[in-house]
Amino acid sequence: MVDMKKELANYNCNAFYDELFAASGQPRPSAQKLLDFIGAMSADDLQDRTTAVDLAIKVMGISFTVYSEGDMIDRAWPFDLLPRIIPRSEWDAIDLGLKQRVTALNLFIQDLYNDQKVIKDGVFPAELLSESVNFRKQCIGVTPPLGIWAHICGSDLVRDAEGTVYVLEDNLRVPSGVSYMLENRQVTKRVLPEIFEHMNIMPVDDYPSQLYDTLAALSPRPQDEPNIVLLTPGIFNSAYFEHAYLAQQMGIELVQGSDLAVLDDDCVYMRTVEGLQRVDVIYRRVDDLFIDPEAFNPKSVLGAAGLMRAWTKGNVALANAPGAGVADDKVVYTYVPQLIKYYLDEDARLPNVPSYLCMDNKQREHVLANIDQLVVKPANESGGYGMLVGPKSTRAEQDKFRELIKANPRNYMAQPTLALSTTPTVIGNQVKPRHVDLRPFILSRDIQYTTMGGLTRVALVEGSLVVNSSQGGGSKDTWIVDDLHQDGGTR
C-alpha cells in the first residue's frame, strides 16, 4: 500500500527541474499546500480518488479518438490526479511573452500575403517563402477582418534543467487540446474539492465565452446576431470530442462540409430543416487544404465548394484564416525572435529553443555530425510524427534521417535534446517524476486573451519525452496559483 507522506519524502528530482519540488524533499512555495494535503492522505483515500478520477472521466465521456482501434473509436482520456502548478507571478510574464509573439506572427502573415516588406527589408529570405508548403497563393492580397489571421494559437512551452521557459513551437492552423484543459479542471474539482477552498487557483472556465467573443468579432454583419458555426471533419477525426465539446459550450452549430453551401451570391449557407441559413463566421477545424475543393484539394469532401470565394469577398469569416499556417512551420519558427524585433521593435520576452536549420550548410553539417544528440523535426508535421529523437534512436534510424535531410534540407530543423522539466505523477501506487510540457492558447481580436495556464501534457513512460496523447501521453490539470495576493488563503 502506498504511503503518500513517504512517497513524497522519497521523491527524487534527479537532475531535472521539477515543477513542484525545488529539490528532493523541498516543495516549492506555490506547491506547499497541495503537497501537505496529498501527504496527509491515507493510502485508501488516494486509491478512492484515483478511482473517482477514472469514473469521472467515463461518466463525463471525456475521450479522444484513435484511428487504429476500428470499432472502439473512443478511448478514455488518460489523466493524472496530481496537478502541475505555476505561480501567478511567473505566469504573468509568460502571458506577456505569448501575446507579444502572436502579435508579431499575425503582422508577419499579413505582411507575407500583402506587401512582403519583411522580405524586401532582408529580414526573412525570399527563398524560404517560395519553398514553404503552407504558403497559400490563394490568400495573396487578402486582409481578413482586423488584419488578424491566427485568431486561435496554441504554443507549446517547455522548461529546461535550469527552469527557463522556452517556446518549442507555435500552432497556428487548427491547434487542439483546449477542451481537455477545461475538462481536466472539472475532474480535479470533483476529485480534490477541499484543496480549492484553501488555495487561490485561477479559474480557466472563461475560455469558451472568450472564444465566442473572438469569433463574433469577425462577423461581416456586425449589426445582427452573428451565425457562428464550428466546421469539423467529422466523427473520425481525433479531435472530434473537442469539436463537439466547444460547439456545445459556445452554443453554436457543429457542422460538416456537406451541411454548407456557397450560392451564386458568394455567401455561405447551412442546410437546415427550415431551409438555407446564412453563416457569418466559421471556426474551422479542418486543415485549409481541405476546406474548399474549388480552391484547394479538389477531392476533399470535408469542406464546401466556394468557401474561399466567400471568404476573399469578405462575406464569411474563417478562423483561423486560410494560409495562417505559413507562420507555424518549424523553419519559420527559428526567425520569430527577429520577427518580433522587426515588427514590434521589442526583444522577445520568451526565448526560442536553440535550433539548427538544415538548409544552412554549416548548421546542416553540425546536425549530420551530431544527429545522435539532437531532435530532428520535419518542418510541417504535427503530433510528434516524423521526428527523430537522437539519443533514443537506432543507428539505422539515424542513417535514414541523414538521407532525408540531405534530400530535402529545407524541410528539416534540429534542436538539442532538452532536459524537460518533470512533475510528480501517480504511477501505479507510487509517485514518480515524469516529463511535461505546456500548451497555452492565445486568442486574438482587437484585444488578446491567454488561457490561465493551459494543457499540461505528461509523458507517462519513464524517461520518455513524447507527450502526445496519440503516442502514450497523458495530461494533468494546470494550476496558476496566485502568489501575488497572499491573503487569499480561503475564498
Binding site: 467529422g234 466523427i235 457543429l254 437546415t272 430543416v273 431551409g275 441559413q277
Partner: protein, 322 residues
C-alpha cells in the same frame, strides 16, 4: 436545426424502436408456436419476409430453421435490421448528436448494445429467449423513458418522435402479419380452440392485452384485435394513434403540409379497413399497403427536411430563410 442532425435524430428514433419491435416480433412467433397444437406446423420461414429482410436472409442461408432465423434477426450484423445492427445504427446516429439528448440516453444505448452483443447467444435457446427478449424491450423502454422525461420538447425532439412513430406503426403491422401468416382457415376444426389464445399472445407481445381488455369488453376475437391494434386512437402502439401523433408533431414543423397530407391519406386508408372480411382474405396485402405508404411518408420527410444534405441536389427547392 441542421438537416443532417435532424436526419440522424430521426434515424436514431427509428432504429431504437426497430430493435425493440424486432424483439416483440420474435416473442410473438415464439409464443404462437407454443400455443398451437403440435400437428399444426408453421415454423420460422415467414419471419425474414415480415421483418423486411428476406433477400438478405436468402443470400446467407439455405434453410429457414429456428436457429438460422433467430440468429439472423437478433445477432447477425449482415442483416441491417437485426437487433444488434439496429442498435449499432442507433449508436452511430447518436454519436454525432449526443449533445441534443440527455447524457444518460447515450450511456443506456451503449449498455443495451453491449448487452445484446455479449449476451445475445442466450436467445438461441428457447428456454432463455423469452427472458432475453423481455430484457431488451425493458431496456429500450428505459431509453424512451429517459428521452421523454429528460429532453426538451424542441425541434430535435420532434424529429425523434417522428422517427419513433413511423417505425412503430410499421412494426405493429409487421407483428400482426406474423399472426396472419400463421392463419389457417378460421373454420378449421382443429384450430378453433386455439384461435383466441393466439390473438391473446399477440396482444401480450405488444404489451396491449390489458389495455385491450379495458377498451373492449367482449371475449377476444380476431376482428376486434385487428381494429384495436390498427384503428384505436388511444393505445400508443396502435397504427392510427401513431398517425395522429405524427400529424400533430408535423404541425409544429415548418412547411410540413405535403407530409401531413400523406399522413391523412394513410389514416383514411387504415381507418377504412373492414376486418371481418380482411381476416378471411387480403389482410397481408392490406398490411403491406400500409407499410408502402409509410415508406412514401418517409420519402416525403426526406425530400423536405433531410435531402438538403445530399451533394449535387438542386438547391432551388430550398427557400432562403435568412
Amino acid at each position: 436545426m441542421l438537416s443532417r442532425v435532424a436526419e440522424h435524430i430521426y434515424w436514431f428514433g427509428r432504429y431504437t424502436e426497430r430493435a425493440e419491435n424486432t424483439a416483440r416480433l420474435l416473442k410473438v412467433n415464439t409464443t404462437l408456436l407454443l400455443d398451437l397444437p403440435p400437428k399444426i406446423t408453421f415454423g420460422w420461414g415467414h419471419l425474414p419476409r415480415i421483418a423486411g429482410c428476406q433477400e438478405a436472409f436468402d443470400e446467407h442461408h439455405e434453410q429457414a430453421d429456428e436457429n438460422n432465423v433467430v440468429h439472423f434477426l437478433i445477432l447477425d450484423e449482415r442483416n441491417p435490421s437485426s437487433i444488434l445492427s439496429s442498435l449499432r445504427s442507433a449508436r452511430e446516429n447518436m454519436r454525432t448528436t449526443r449533445d441534443l439528448m440527455p447524457r444518460e440516453v447515450w450511456e443506456q444505448v451503449n449498455r443495451l448494445y453491449y448487452r445484446v452483443r455479449e449476451q445475445g447467444q442466450q436467445a438461441m435457446s428457447r428456454q432463455r429467449r423469452h427472458e432475453f427478449l423481455d430484457q431488451i424491450i425493458l431496456d429500450a423502454n428505459m431509453i424512451s423513458g429517459l428521452l421523454f422525461g429528460g429532453m426538451s420538447n424542441d425541434q430535435a425532439f420532434r424529429f425523434l418522435h417522428i422517427g419513433i412513430d413511423i417505425e412503430r406503426a410499421d412494426m405493429t403491422t409487421r407483428i400482426i402479419d406474423v399472426r396472419s401468416e400463421s392463419l389457417l382457415p378460421e373454420q378449421s376444426e382443429d384450430i378453433m380452440p386455439f384461435l383466441n389464445i393466439q390473438w391473446m399472445s399477440m396482444l401480450r407481445s405488444l404489451t396491449a392485452y390489458q389495455m385491450y381488455r379495458r377498451h373492449i369488453r367482449r371475449r377476444v376475437n380476431g376482428p376486434d384485435v385487428l381494429r384495436f391494434l390498427l384503428q384505436n386512437t388511444e393505445f400508443p402502439r396502435a397504427v392510427v394513434f401513431c398517425l395522429n401523433r405524427l400529424n400533430s408533431t408535423l404541425l409544429q414543423l415548418p412547411h410540413s403540409e405535403p407530409c401531413i397530407n400523406q399522413v391523412i391519406q394513410l389514416r383514411t386508408h387504415v381507418a377504412g379497413g373492414e376486418f371481418h372480411q380482411l381476416i378471411e382474405q387480403g389482410l397481408s396485402e392490406f398490411l403491406d399497403q400500409i407499410q408502402l405508404e409509410l415508406n412514401t411518408l418517409h420519402s416525403c420527410l426526406h425530400k423536405h427536411y433531410f435531402a438538403v444534405e445530399e451533394q449535387g441536389e438542386s438547391q432551388s427547392q430550398f427557400s432562403r430563410s435568412d
